[in-house]
Assembly symmetry: C2
Homo-oligomer: 351 residues x 2
């Protein structure tokens, strides 16, 4: 019998944002790896690629020409997962097992800049601020559409994350329902706010700033941290210090601070394994159902798959799919490693 | 405005086993794929590989020798995610945000047979029955340990599922808590049973047999089907017709019927893309907490990643991680395609 040591002993941690547990196995990072290695492209990309359907002036799958855009550029996804058609539907309440509902939605693609080779960490702060402005405009415009109650802004970066075009871009899927994961977070935020009259993340950020060990970057308005309950090895979350419910509530100063922390965090990510670091990222913020959402607190998740190197990822498979998410390194250790990374991009460092 | 057509229009379906929705985009399978292709090994494996740490007589990472085993063989995982150590722990209830608990558990590896090259679909029914007997023994033995309340039997098959050794094997992770996903299912099964005095899956199987369209294979005791709420393109579930709460309740006839349906389903899987079909599979059954669990109903999930071919998988990334699982082909279409596959393994067919 020994006393519990959170840095050494297998344990479960609780995620109050979605009310789920994660299994943490601190000792397990030591096991040897004989499994699949990812292939990474070390190829230098050109500034403009004539075969890229996202570059300015080029033709997309549907035959349309991209304009000669100069900052960010948004268009409707040619292969959207949802459609805008209004559908007549009568719910069949007899069906316990076959419950289905049509879903209306819009998918858009957001090219970050005309440059085929310029990822977030390599852009300047001004360029990132332009993307933030684009996200704000899209959140407002899509949110104003009557049947759109949720706007999901996200990025799949890297081929290992299913991204099929290296031209830096994100996506927006806007729809009538709150998606499953967002609904879970919504319920947690709501019940915390109803009880405490403060947002859950307002209090959480303060608790993390006090604890220090999971903080990666802090500025006047935002904190980037490895959540206590992170599931991916280098998962992080950027949270606003102020209880801001949506991206359109940013002050000018907050926009700049957000652009800066985005650049710093993604630079550290790239420096970790000297590679263009793959991840899925996305913003969670207030629904666009026309109601006030004081319980909502703006945050951005980063879910990167890499574990040991640029080519060895964490597989969320068998036990994780059937049982519970499981991680092989503590969030505190991951935060420490990320903190140690330079904020100068490795490509700019003389070798 | 048009009437809802579940075969054509984007919609959400509800999964009553875990109370979550999935987004279905029937039209989306048509989009072109320019993203990452998986590498598949077409290499013929030897019956015995002197460098394999799972083959009979060989040495494992920790220096131990495998016996010259002749059917299935079980050993403790050398790099277990949990440990058996009893840990002294006092819960700190003040922590709203930093909730953690030590977790005790045991991980085992189950080699399916001495043969390095023999996957489930290629084994004979008798050989599979031996694996079932092994699962039954492990479920009983592990379940009898005082602190073990849940026994998760699963298999990661294929390098794309993080499997690091092609020697056919599964794993068992047994632990003190109900893992997150199992707890969700547990709660759903319990509330259905309390209300209806029948198990949820007993009634669901009958509804599916009546509907027919999602059935892949049926025998006297088991049904293999694509659940109405499946998230993976070719996800299936094997369910017992009788309300059996755990694998140790099988009659001799049921064991044989289960072995047969396992062989048939995995053969169809291999035939789909003429490849050794990757998946994570696992059994969900009653907890081993010493209580009776009339609400539990034995079932086995298969989560295969492939979508279009042996090399193009479905990426559960951005929207799926942040929003909701999304599928590009209807479960009915997938079931039809699986039904059409031969039950004779493609390797046995003269080309
Ligand atoms: O123990 P293995 O087979 O090496 O590991 C594999 O299965 C485990 C259980 O699903 C996962 O946690 C690992 O990420 C995966 O690589
Ligand atoms: O639309 P894309 O970028 O081609 O597709 C990618 O992102 C989508 C949203 O996360 C996923 O559903 C797809 O599986 C993935 O390949």
């Amino acid at each position: 019998m020994k006393n519990f040591d959170i840095n050494e002993d297998p344990h479960r941690r609780f995620n109050p944002l979605i009310n789920e547990w994660v299994l943490v196995s601190p000792h397990r990072a030591k096991r040897p790896w004989q499994g699949q290695n990812e292939t990474i492209s070390t190829e230098e990309l050109p500034k403009y690629d004539p075969t890229c359907y996202l570059c300015p002036g080029n033709v997309r799958a549907n035959g349309m020409h991209n304009p000669a855009y100069e900052s960010s550029f948004v268009f409707e996804n040619d292969f959207a997962a949802m459609k805008q058609d209004e559908i007549i539907f009568e719910e069949d309440i007899k069906h316990t097992f076959f419950k289905a509902k049509p879903e209306q939605g819009i998918s858009r693609v957001v090219c970050f800049s005309p440059r085929h080779d310029l990822t977030l960490p390599e852009m300047d702060v001004e360029g990132i601020e332009t993307i933030i402005k684009t996200w704000q405009r899209e959140y407002t415009d899509l949110g104003n559409i009557k049947y759109i109650n949720h706007v999901q802004i996200f990025e799949n970066k890297g081929s290992v994350m299913g991204c099929s075009n290296p031209h830096p871009h994100g996506q927006i899927w806007a729809q009538s329902s709150l998606p499953t994961q967002v609904e879970k977070t919504h319920n947690s935020l709501k019940s915390y706010y109803d009880k405490n009259k403060r947002t859950l993340l307002e209090d959480y950020v303060q608790a993390e700033l006090k604890a220090e060990s999971r903080i990666v970057i802090e500025n006047d308005h935002f904190v980037a941290l490895v959540p206590f309950w992170a599931i991916w090895p280098y998962e992080t979350m950027i949270v606003s210090k102020r209880a801001i419910s949506k991206i359109t509530d940013f002050t000018a100063e907050e926009s700049t601070a957000f652009a800066k922390i985005l650049k710093q965090l993604t630079t550290k990510y790239d420096n970790l394994f000297n590679t263009s670091f793959p991840y899925s990222s996305g913003i969670h913020q207030a629904p666009t159902d026309g109601l006030l959402h004081p319980e909502w607190h703006f945050h951005m998740h980063f879910y990167p798959p890499l574990l040991r190197s640029a080519t060895v990822k964490k597989f969320m498979v068998g036990y994780e799919m059937l049982g519970e998410s499981q991680r092989d390194i503590t969030p505190e250790k991951s935060a420490e490693i990320l903190r140690q990374q330079s904020e100068e991009h490795y490509k700019n460092l003389v070798k």
